[in-house]
Symmetry: C2
Subunit: 580 residues, 2 copies
């Protein structure tokens, strides 16, 4: 028998019709001699009633939770007293039931899945994925992919697959290696991104490329990372930064519209890196709420309050009224993020009390004016070296968000750009200059003259990050297309010509063979879908994720292999290796 | 400056307008003081004329082959004497030229790319990809992907990404291994296919799934294989074989229509495995032409011609008139494919001459009637054990196709199904039964009773292959959803319960938790695009392929790695390993 429709596609127009449905027994109740089943498929749930004198009864009586069943019956409105409006007002009176498959008792109740230990959910992922939350997340993801394809095809992009077995790329994280049997003792690397290949596609003249690219980074899986993740990867030729940004905005709007039915406001606000750090203490600020910092360095410069007088930067954020316990907690956050402490003041009329109030009497009027802190509210200060001070206060700002649910009053989704990143960073540990994005990012043409000077830290990159609700969901840049500038860039980060050639020789060759101006971006697709779906972890938007030890608890990977298999690869286990 | 349009999008409506174009210098000629450039982008080529007194001249004079240039000029019809109809009747009279980038002299002439050694093409792939052939192949591929997405989305399929770092799957080829740093001494396998995961998605209730899946097999790269290839992978729940086939036919028709503008005739013919082998000596017969075999076993059975009298099977194919040299060559093909020889006859009026003619006088009339061989034509015979005889004659049939271009008279594309494959094969070497597709393929329900009997070789699988122009471009099956049948299947191939559990334990568990009836298919996407584009190798439809040593000649992968990096993985090189 063929099914008439998916359960969720039944409409009042089906009322009175005999329908055939196929799905899983969500629940079974026996009441007054009748069997009441909830039949579930991916689209919905419907109640099925089996009467004791029905020919369907004997077979229906075999059904247990999660059995697979085919049910033929009459789709009809429930008695008037039981109607509440909507699809649940309809039920099926079974005339034929067929058990399509039995099922063991599930190891956890599907409806409580969200509260079950994640290890259990991952071990029985095929059951966990039956839950409405997971179904919704993965359907959202699929719709977003379709929306991307639809939009970029219409914009003239070509979809190209780049190699999965390749050579180390310049992202700087650790590669996953794949031993080559045909070339024993040699290894492929799994791609950290298609960065060089997409630039090569521009050199090859494809003009506009995209790919949903599987990428790999062998990192310690702190936080919310997966060894294997997905990027929406794009590159365009003959473009400048504004062209890339404008297209991304329309694409993002299309994805939200098609996958969520949400309209985004275009254009997205643009903040410079300097501004984002200065005002929000983050290069991926959550702009669903305000709470920007005020700069009050000038108020204390050379003054009596020594902790602030010598500081490169003094920043303040206005918070609601805080208890001492809350202030202590926020100070802990500030210290964890590099601050020496968290000075505070409480507004009391036209004065401040508590904290550092006795040191700021001269600045009171100005602090009230600049921060607009309301009666009873708290001012929190970070002082010190600029980047440390703003970063610590940025962490405090997010802690305040979580404490007072500050984002709740804002838009559900806020997308913005952070632009004008520094091209180079000075690494204090190694006392060397390094790239902030990657070595192929184009510097701002006006700043080229700073290469090789003590001011090269001020060179602005033509790089941009896409920020959604405080998450970096995309990042890209205009690339260097002039071999001369590429040489300057390598020199600036201390690569000799030999080193550059050893690492990127083939790419340097390609660059000299007629490279168009080009630039692109990659979206962290897992994270984007996580934020869109309201999930708390990317594991909630990936069908079969690894746990934080890199293990697949269902398939039991990774696992040991035969010595012979290693021998074929020219490898053996290193007995001296530390135990995991 | 922004470009006005891609070159190929200029139309007669642009005539007289000033346009801005960006692209590569395809060719430069200097004639009568003028510079003639061909400017190329991904969409086309246009002639640009730079007059000696033009302000553009000095910059244009810098241009060499493969330089990147921006050209502003007036798009206009060429002088009437030079018109031939079409886009080439138009040219651009330059008013401004800007060199966007220089280019080294290419190491090979792009227009001769097809004739250049493949190693050179692969080393400079970014130049090779500029060639019209490669651009066309990759655009065709991209269009086919879009067509797939479009169609399957409309049919209610969800696109899901399955893991790339996983555990060995049951395809039986060798896995690529990925050492785990977090679990030293343990390994992931790169997926040979998403087979188990897509079945798990059906168990999870997703109902209809697809994915363009990157797959990996560590095989010796004879013939036209890549270590890393792409499958269009699909699975459907609550379906029978006819449902899958019917959907595939509509999908294939949609892909041909959207990507090539070609209309396929539906439904595709279906041949049983038995019939395909019997008539064409192949389970992927090229049906663009006929030349089916006739069975003439009965004509010789127990007769005087000993070579045929005892044979299990005697098959004959009718060929055009052949020279002795051609017959010798075809006999070599037959022998290479397992025949002991290739008997032949030439038609001469109502008789046969040459070859085995003196042994077949009694059969002459019947042979003429059954084969309909024309005057002067040749009959070629294979005799012996059925599978060997038909396979050898199948190879001869393809050799005849190539020799006489037999496929040229047929349709450009011929798609068919081969169905009713055997469930099990007896392996003479190991004297064991093994699966023909994979151990999850469902047997025909009528044949279940044969499991465990001496006739289990006659069990038909609910398996199907999609054949295009003699290439297997897809294969799939209805899967086993009944744990009991799965147990029978494992028993039939000699797996103990322990062995089954060790290999597929988690999947066996899943199967017992409410598995719907389901089935699916995977298309060999590289091969499909190869045939659609008329290319001779899948390397022609992959942007950055490996050569037949598994090497990327451009990026120089695989390559050696640091001992320290191996140490982190708990590995060391095995010095005893043979040199590559």
């Amino acid at each position: 028998m063929k099914r008439t429709a998916l359960i969720g596609h039944l409409t009042p127009a089906h009322a009175g019709q005999t329908v055939t449905l196929q799905g899983w027994v969500n629940r079974r109740r026996d009441l007054g001699g009748l069997i009441f089943l909830e039949l579930r498929d991916r689209s919905g749930v419907v109640q099925v009633q089996v009467e004791p004198d029905s020919a369907a009864f004997a077979e229906a009586d075999r059904l247990r939770a999660e059995y697979v069943a085919e049910i033929e019956g009459v789709y009809q409105q429930r008695p008037e007293s039981q109607r509440k409006g909507g699809a649940a007002d309809f039920e099926v009176i079974a005339v034929r039931v067929k058990v399509l498959n039995t099922a063991k008792t599930p190891p956890f109740e599907l409806e409580k899945g969200g509260d079950v230990a994640e290890d259990i959910r991952l071990k029985y992922r095929y059951l966990d994925l039956r839950r409405a939350d997971m179904q919704r997340n993965l359907f959202l993801r699929s719709k977003a992919v379709t929306a991307v394809t639809e939009f970029l095809d219409a914009e003239g992009f070509i979809q190209v697959e780049t190699p999965m077995l390749t050579k180390s790329t310049p992202e700087g994280a650790r590669d996953f290696l794949v031993p080559s049997r045909l070339n024993p003792g040699e290894f492929y690397a799994l791609p950290q991104s298609p960065q060089l290949f997409k630039q090569l596609l521009m050199i090859a003249g494809f003009d506009r490329y995209y790919q949903l690219a599987r990428c790999f980074r062998d990192e310690d899986l702190r936080a919310d990372r997966q060894p294997d993740f997905t990027q929406l990867d794009m590159e365009l030729s003959f473009v400048e930064q504004d062209d890339v940004l404008e297209l991304q905005e329309r694409l993002m709007a299309h994805v939200f519209r098609r996958a969520l039915g949400v309209e985004l406001t275009l254009p997205f606000p643009r903040l410079s890196y300097q501004e984002a750090m200065d005002r929000y203490g983050s290069d991926k600020p959550d702009l669903r709420f305000g709470s920007a910092f005020e700069d009050v360095t000038d108020l204390f410069q050379g003054g009596d309050f020594k902790a602030f007088a010598d500081a490169q930067t003094v920043k303040v954020i206005a918070a609601p009224e805080l208890t001492r316990k809350q202030i202590d907690e926020l100070e802990r956050v500030a210290k964890q993020n590099g601050a020496r402490g968290l000075a505070w003041l409480k507004r009391d009329g036209d004065a401040f009390t508590g904290g550092i109030s006795k040191f700021v009497t001269a600045q009171t009027a100005e602090l009230l004016a600049r921060t607009g802190v309301p009666e009873g509210g708290t001012l929190l200060f970070a002082a010190g070296e600029w980047k440390k001070a703003v970063s610590a206060l940025g962490a405090v700002r997010l802690a305040l968000r979580d404490l007072f649910d500050l984002a709740a009053g804002g838009p559900q989704f806020h997308v913005s750009w952070v632009v004008d990143f520094p091209q180079l960073e000075f690494d204090e540990d190694s006392q060397t200059w390094t790239y902030m994005h990657h070595p192929f990012t184009a510097p701002h043409p006006d700043d080229l003259k700073l290469f090789g000077t003590p001011q090269q830290g001020e060179i602005r990159a033509q790089a941009y990050d896409l920020v959604l609700n405080g998450f970096e969901v995309g990042g890209g840049s205009i690339r260097i297309h002039d071999p001369e500038v590429q040489t300057q860039m390598f020199a600036a980060i201390g690569f000799t010509e030999e080193q550059a050639r050893e690492k990127f020789g083939f790419f340097m060759d390609a660059l000299a063979h007629g490279t168009p101006p080009h630039g692109g971006i990659a979206w962290g697709f897992d994270r984007l879908i996580m934020v869109m779906s309201g999930a708390q972890s990317i594991r909630e938007v990936i069908a079969f994720p690894k746990n934080n030890r890199g293990a697949d608890l269902m398939a039991l990977a990774p696992s040991p292999v035969d010595t012979a298999q290693l021998g074929d690869l020219g490898l053996k286990l290193d007995d001296a290796a530390p135990e995991a």
